[in-house]
């Protein structure tokens, strides 16, 4: 059947070049829009899940998290753990967190009449190394970041402070500002006052509902020394996390619970699965639409050129060459739609959203085209185009010469 392919290519090129340019542009435009739509919906889903994942990695867990084993409260000898892992080439930075919880109170008029309170996580950090791991500095919306020596001072999440836009929590401290003092009542009945030096908002609600203080401050509350609740390890590439897990397992860190970002994103993974499923369904529907568009275009074209097909068959151009020429045309529209759709998506739509990210509650979202999704979309689109052009070509071209020439 394919021995006539060169003839088919010639016929296809001639028909495309000699055909109506307006129809050609319209056809390619339709294919472009259908493919763009296919990519866009998927890219938005991927963008949302990536934003959520990146939020968790960047502001909460890092690529690898080392925690005490269940039953242990703290990681003992934190410095030894840091020494053991810091020389791996892919380790970018390490931060230690001491975590606890407290009831935070904001006595708005300092007279006890109107006190707002919120149960929040309190995290003790070393400001000198923290910003390399959990970048709060660039998310300060008021005031400044914690600095070395800021005893009795705290950095407060916008969702707790209140009055800084939407929050997932029904209650907050009702408008804490930089310079205000709040009281923290810890579980061990220790009470401390903190002056707020800054308010931050990362849009990761787990992070934005915390208060950060100096680790030394929290050590004095909890009575800890060289201990931490978690060690956040940032890698040069998140895809090296499995290698890190393997390497860390070899250097006797068996007393600790080590997990990578994949394990920490169980909630996100469920959403990702749902998004993947919805994306696949939309991809199939989109491809079906594309196939239908190609079918209609080729069918209408064939019906309009029936007599010409009859003439070609009458003068001895093989049926297979004519059929192939229509398939090639269908593929031409499809591939051009894919290329232009991809270029417009990549450089136009995503370029635009990079400059103007969509403001989602969980972060600033930029659509993301994943290679796997792109490959699947291209394959489905090509198959749809192939079927969409093959069916009318077979249906019509196989008709009797005299029927076609009538």
């Amino acid at each position: 059947m394919w021995s006539n392919i060169k003839l088919a290519v010639f016929l296809a090129i001639k028909t495309i070049l000699r055909g109506d340019k307006g129809s050609l542009i319209l056809t390619v435009l339709i294919m472009l829009v259908v493919f763009l739509n296919l990519l866009f919906v998927d890219a938005v889903f991927k963008g949302i899940s990536t934003t959520m994942d990146e939020g968790k990695i960047n502001y909460q867990y890092g690529e690898v998290t080392i925690e005490p084993r269940p039953g242990d409260k703290y990681i003992k000898n934190t410095n030894d753990v840091i020494d053991a892992i810091q020389d791996f080439y892919y380790v970018r930075s390490i931060a230690t967190h001491l975590r606890t919880s407290a009831t935070l109170k904001n006595d708005k008029y300092n007279d006890g009449r109107d006190v707002a309170q919120f149960g929040a996580g309190v995290v003790g950090i070393d400001p000198e190394i923290e910003n390399d791991s959990i970048d709060l500095k660039s998310h300060i919306i008021e005031g400044k970041c914690l600095e070395k020596g800021d005893y009795g001072k705290a950095l407060l999440g916008a969702d707790i402070a209140g009055g800084y836009g939407s929050s997932p929590f029904p209650e907050d401290l009702e408008g804490v500002r930089t310079g205000d003092k709040i009281t923290a009542i810890y579980g061990n009945d220790v009470v401390r006052d903190y002056e707020i030096v800054g308010i931050y908002k990362t849009k990761n609600f787990d992070t934005d509902s915390k208060m950060f203080v100096l680790q030394d401050d929290l050590n004095s509350v909890l009575g800890t020394t060289n201990e931490s609740s978690e060690i956040i390890v940032r890698l040069t590439d998140k895809h090296l996390s499995q290698k890190a897990l393997d390497d860390f397992a070899k250097i006797n860190l068996s007393n600790y619970e080590i997990s990578d970002w994949n394990e920490k994103l169980s909630f996100g993974a469920t959403i990702n699965k749902s998004f993947d499923m919805i994306g696949s369904i939309l991809r199939i529907i989109g491809s079906f639409v594309a196939g239908l568009v190609i079918f209609i275009i080729i069918f209408v074209d064939i019906v309009n050129r029936r007599k010409q097909i009859g003439i070609l068959k009458a003068i001895g151009i093989p049926e297979s060459a004519i059929m192939q020429s229509y398939i090639i045309r269908g593929m031409f529209y499809t591939v051009l739609g894919i290329i232009l759709g991809f270029l417009l998506m990549n450089f136009g739509v995503i370029g635009f959203f990079r400059g103007h990210p969509i403001d989602f509650p969980m972060g600033d979202m930029v659509p993301v085209i994943k290679r796997e999704a792109l490959r699947m979309s291209v394959i489905l689109f090509v198959v749809a185009g192939l079927i969409g052009s093959l069916i009318p070509a077979i249906k019509e071209v196989r008709k009797k010469i005299l029927t076609l020439m009538r």
Partner: protein, 251 residues
């Protein structure tokens, strides 16, 4: 006596058009032989089956029953590719409605049948392209249409269109040319020009099978097959074969 080879031989050909509800018997047992180099006219009134017979003989359609031997070979087992090859290489068509491709030039219309040969070769070189161009030019010259090379069919008169169609039919130097009412849509002068070209082709050795309902046109042939109600009722030689007076058509 020299034995002339039969190029077409058919026996008891029938053709029934079955629409599901009605069956129309277009050919009812047609048998005939046509020798190489003959100029045969198939004549008959409208609906007699003359075009159907031409369609069957030229492989545009298949007979319902009967035997059809082309150059001595039974065509029963010829598949679509084989039939396309024969239509391309051994047969030329001239239709009443010209059937030119509207969106391509005169040159490209004539070149079309060459494409099969050209593009099914493993390699195409410049020499082949030049040969093809020469062949198209020669074909157009033979019908005096070389001056309309780059015209589109819509820019030609009926007679010119038919001459282009003849050039296309000639391009592969076919053994047989089937002409279905070739003068039917033409004025008398253009009709004579077309018949003059067909006469010339026959003199060059081409077998011409002409379908017409006009006796005057049929008399340009050497032999007339009269067909009525799907049957050949008369098969006779033309004693006073007409020939186009070239002076007339040049006036």
């Amino acid at each position: 006596m020299e034995k002339i080879a039969k190029i077409i031989s058919c026996k008891d050909i029938t053709k029934v058009f079955d629409t599901g509800e009605t069956k129309t018997h277009a050919l009812r047992g047609v048998s005939c032989d046509i020798a190489e180099g003959e100029f045969v006219a198939i004549m008959g009134p409208s609906g007699s089956g003359k075009s159907t017979l031409m369609h069957v003989l030229s492989f545009l359609d298949r007979a319902t029953e009967g035997g059809y031997f082309f150059r001595g070979k039974d065509t029963k087992d010829f598949d679509e590719e084989k039939l396309a090859f024969i239509r391309n290489q051994e047969i030329g068509f001239v239709f009443q409605s010209f059937n030119l491709m509207q969106r391509v030039s005169v040159f490209e219309n004539v070149e079309l049948p060459l494409l099969y040969d050209f593009y099914t070769k493993t390699t195409q070189n410049k020499e082949d392209k030049k040969t093809n161009k020469d062949r198209v030019m020669n074909a157009l010259k033979s019908v005096s249409m070389e001056h309309r090379l780059h015209h589109m069919p819509s820019q030609l008169s009926g007679g010119e269109k038919q001459r282009v169609a003849i050039a296309r039919a000639l391009i592969n130097n076919p053994k047989i040319i089937f002409a279905d009412e070739p003068t039917g849509n033409l004025d008398s002068k253009s009709g004579l020009q077309v018949m003059h070209v067909l006469e010339g082709l026959n003199k060059q050795g081409h077998t011409i099978i002409l379908v017409t309902h006009e006796s005057r046109t049929a008399e340009h042939a050497q032999r007339i097959l009269r067909i009525v109600d799907g049957k050949i009722v008369d098969d006779k030689r033309v004693h006073n074969q007409r020939s186009v007076d070239t002076d007339n058509i040049l006036k």
